[in-house]
């Protein structure tokens, strides 16, 4: 696919050229008609700073909430409903994906009351296997079905040409992916080429369009571990929303640190501010490193107390996780049986 009109590659990070950016509806609304690299940069650099010490203290304070009994039971079920059950390994096979799907549909074979997860998340070339395995259960998680999310755009590094990244996206959409988890170009971001990062997101969003005119949902992975500072995360979050992302996502899970409570809190604050500004709701997905129910519950609390509990629905919040599900099942078993459970009582997928 050719480059979209209006995209100019900025070859030098130093020269801030007034390059026109690919039109994105939201950016036009917020920044006005003069949508250039320069106007975008001025906007991003005008955002308020983040005091890391204060942010981390606020996250820690939210983490002291004590969620017990009925609240805990609800929380555990909600966590499951919000999981993107994930396998992203070079060694993935259709058999592995099939096994993952079975787990997604029936997390606990001994307990039919356990809800389904929101989605399975796989590499683009595994999408057909996932779709086949899901069969009639493939669909909208808000309706109790399970969707297929595919990572794309040369995940996890993002180091490939735009042509390759768009082809990666189109293939996954064509194969039936409902959601695309793309990565931003962190190198370009850190070099200050905000316009390039912006244009790529716009282009990928465009590649999410299906023949019938609907769009696969786009999650934009910031890879917060590589962006390093909270100020960068705030800027990248705004940029991704302006460019058209439906969700902002913390990490690929392939880099440490992956999701953390403070970084997720920050992204929720951006989403809250976007909502105040425009009335539009953007989703948030922390991914990688969330292994225990205890941790996941802290995230639910953080969402509820930052943007409101309306966000605790599959179309607005997801956990990118694999081993989390089993820990939640063990906790559920403790709540129902009254005794501590063990790894023999949950399945490996």
């Amino acid at each position: 696919m050719n480059a979209l009109p209006g995209i100019n590659v900025v070859t030098s990070g130093r020269a801030i050229v007034s390059t026109a950016l690919a039109p994105a509806e939201r950016a036009l609304g917020v920044l006005g008609g003069d949508l250039t690299e320069r106007s975008l940069r001025l906007h991003l650099e005008g955002l308020p700073g983040v005091d890391a010490v204060g942010l981390e203290e606020r996250a820690a304070a939210l983490g002291t909430r004590s969620i017990k009994t009925t609240s805990k039971a609800w929380a555990l079920n909600t966590i499951i409903r919000l999981i993107d059950l994930t396998t992203l390994e070079g060694a993935d096979t259709p058999g592995k994906v099939s096994s993952l799907v079975a787990k997604a549909l029936t997390p606990d074979p001994n307990d039919a009351s356990v809800p389904r997860v929101a989605a399975v998340c796989v590499y683009g070339d595994m999408v057909p296997a996932a779709v086949t395995a899901l069969g009639a259960a493939h669909g909208d998680p808000d309706a109790g079905l399970v969707s297929v999310a595919a990572v794309a755009t040369a995940f996890p590094s993002g180091r490939a040409s735009l042509r390759v990244k768009l082809a990666d996206t189109e293939d996954a959409v064509a194969a039936g992916a409902d959601e695309i988890d793309m990565v931003i170009d962190r190198g370009a971001f850190l070099a200050g080429n905000y316009g390039l990062v912006f244009d790529q997101i716009v282009a990928v969003k465009d590649s999410c369009r299906r023949a019938d005119g609907t769009f696969a949902h786009l999650k934009v992975i910031l890879e917060t571990g590589e962006l390093n500072t909270y100020d960068n995360v705030r800027k990248a979050s705004w940029l991704s929303i302006l460019a058209g992302g439906d969700f902002i996502k913390t990490s690929t899970g392939k880099v440490t640190p992956a999701a953390t409570l403070p970084v997720t809190l920050l992204m929720l604050e951006v989403v809250r501010d976007w909502y105040r500004l425009t009335g539009e709701r953007i989703g948030v997905k922390p991914a990688g490193g969330i292994r225990t129910s205890k941790d996941a519950i802290k995230y639910l609390v953080t969402v509820a107390e930052t943007v409101g509990e309306h966000w605790l629905q599959p179309h607005l919040f997801r956990f990118g996780a694999s081993s989390l599900l089993n820990d939640v099942l063990l906790q559920r078993q403790k709540l129902t049986t009254g005794r501590y459970s063990g790894p023999d009582y949950v399945t490996v997928d």
């Binding site: 983040v50 010490v53 606020r58 909430r65 004590s66 107390e305 509990e309």
Partner: protein
């Protein structure tokens, strides 16, 4: 389609009560004098839980005769034991106390929340850990006084009379007792009338630490007990934390007595938010500044000075944030705002808030459900406040914030300093040079930049002007309890 609209709100968290079964309370407590609990000769009184108004225990009341006995015990312990003990050994006792506080931390936190009304989250995570840290820190100074920069051969003063308030009962006790003992003094300390419980458990800890009898004496009682104590002729040092009015009275009554005096009094701190503040953290800082501990904090950020060009946005965000504060049972682990400590204090907060409204300020309160029993006040914000308003001048000592504006840094400084108080201040900005220049000009003893209400035993705390004099914490905190031969130690 989501089924979540039918489920109860997640934000109505299920009760998460901290159990009181860890306490082994007595029905009544005596005075702790000379290492033992003894009967008081004044009329005993009840201590109640301000959240339920239920009785907790009966507390002894020390009359002037009891005060005499306590001071005599402290004097004897000083002369015969404590002043002859090496600094290293004094330090070892303080280390023991620190460790015992850590061991019984949960018990102390529950007792404190029960008796004071503050959330268990605060007494567990802030108060009690700081108490242990304070004793740990000063333990290490006991045998290093020569290094404290307070002159050669610093010596203890003798017997210290200490009177503490009800807002951080055990922490204020630690702030007083730890440095006094480290410096070699013995102590008679009077906890506040409404919050004596944790001090009584602390007395048990002193017994477990095997502290020599008479080194610390804890005499419970009301205002007259405190007055008798600070005016006692055989006391060498007076340390008081409480209201400016009482502090003034003590300064007058100890004038010419030869007693060394330190005072830690009220405040009306300005929390200054610039337009380049890290906004989300500034909101947290404002909330923490005035609503932490129900605003019962001498250094509370009770005046928000916000740069005029961001006033509306800040107030807007503040109101949203207050929507997730939880007011209720102090022993529930999710409670953010506990009970007001007493009916008297609640009446005062209500009275001043009504005055604020009458003066034309616009009142807004967080939508909290107020329980039937107990003393409660919802977090409240006043906008359209002028610098001459009573609520901008008087210390309310409750969860009430007065919001004022400024245009330039210079104006912010002028307004912040325009008060007889001078305990603390907050500065919120992303610009270091501005923070440091503003800090330079603020007449306040503690300045927090991009944070608020941070305490550490290594960090000196105390006020300018009518907020008192002397410092607690740090190397400076030893000065109140020592005199040096070379430093004008005469009367």
């Amino acid at each position: 389609m989501s089924d979540l609209s039918k489920t109860p709100s997640f934000l109505d968290y299920a009760p998460a009560p901290e159990s009181t079964s860890i306490l082994h309370l007595k029905k009544s407590y005596g005075l702790f004098i000379d290492g033992e609990f003894v009967k008081g000769h004044g009329a005993p009184f009840l201590t109640i839980s301000p959240s339920s108004e239920q009785k907790i225990a009966e507390i002894a009341n020390a009359n002037s005769r009891d005060v005499d006995v306590a001071v005599a015990a402290a004097r004897k312990a000083y002369d015969r034991t404590w002043s002859r003990m090496s600094g290293a050994d004094r330090g070892k006792y303080l280390f023991r106390i620190a460790r015992l506080v850590q061991e019984r931390a949960r018990e102390l936190a529950v007792a404190e929340s029960l008796d004071n009304g503050k959330p268990i989250k605060e007494s567990r995570d802030v108060d009690v850990p700081l108490v242990a840290a304070w004793f740990f820190y000063y333990a290490g100074w006991a045998d290093k006084l020569d290094y404290a920069g307070l002159g050669p051969n610093p010596k203890a003063l003798g017997v210290a009379a200490q009177v503490i308030p009800w807002n951080f009962p055990l922490l204020m006790l630690a702030w007083k007792v730890a440095p006094a003992l480290a410096a070699g003094n013995t102590v008679v300390i009077k906890p506040a009338e409404t919050t004596s419980l944790s001090a009584m458990i602390f007395a048990e800890i002193l017994q477990q630490a095997d502290l020599p009898a008479g080194v610390v004496n804890i005499i419970t009682g009301a205002g007259d007990t405190g007055e008798a104590l600070v005016n006692h002729p055989d006391v060498n040092k007076v340390a008081f934390t409480g209201s400016t009015a009482v502090g003034r009275a003590i300064a007058k009554s100890t004038a010419g007595s030869g007693k060394k005096l330190t005072l830690e009094l009220g405040g009306k701190a300005a929390n200054i938010v610039f337009d380049d503040a890290p906004i989300d953290q500034a909101i947290e800082g404002i909330v923490n500044g005035i609503f932490f501990n129900q605003g019962h904090v001498c250094c509370a950020g009770s005046r928000l000075l916000v740069q005029e060009n961001v006033h509306d946005e800040v107030v807007d965000r503040l109101k949203s944030r207050l929507g997730t504060l939880r007011l209720g049972d102090p022993l529930d682990k999710n409670t953010d705002i506990g009970a007001i400590n007493s009916r008297e204090q609640l009446d005062r907060v209500r009275e001043l808030s009504d005055i604020g409204e009458a003066e034309g300020a616009v009142r807004w309160s967080a939508p909290c459900v107020i329980p039937d029993k107990g003393f409660w006040f919802a977090p409240t914000i006043f906008t359209n406040v002028s610098t001459s308003s009573r609520i901008a001048r008087d210390e309310i000592f409750g969860p009430v914030l007065a919001v004022l504006t400024f245009r330039t840094p210079g104006e912010a400084i002028a307004k912040a300093n325009n008060t007889p108080y001078g305990l603390s201040a907050g500065i919120w900005s992303d610009k270091g040079s501005k923070i440091l220049a503003v800090a330079d000009k603020l007449r306040a003893g503690v300045i927090w930049a991009n944070t608020f209400n941070r305490f550490d035993p290594a960090s000196p705390f105390g006020g300018y002007k009518e907020s008192g004099f002397g410092r607690e914490g740090g190397r400076h905190g030893l000065a109140a309890y020592l005199e040096s031969a070379g430093w004008g130690s005469g009367k």
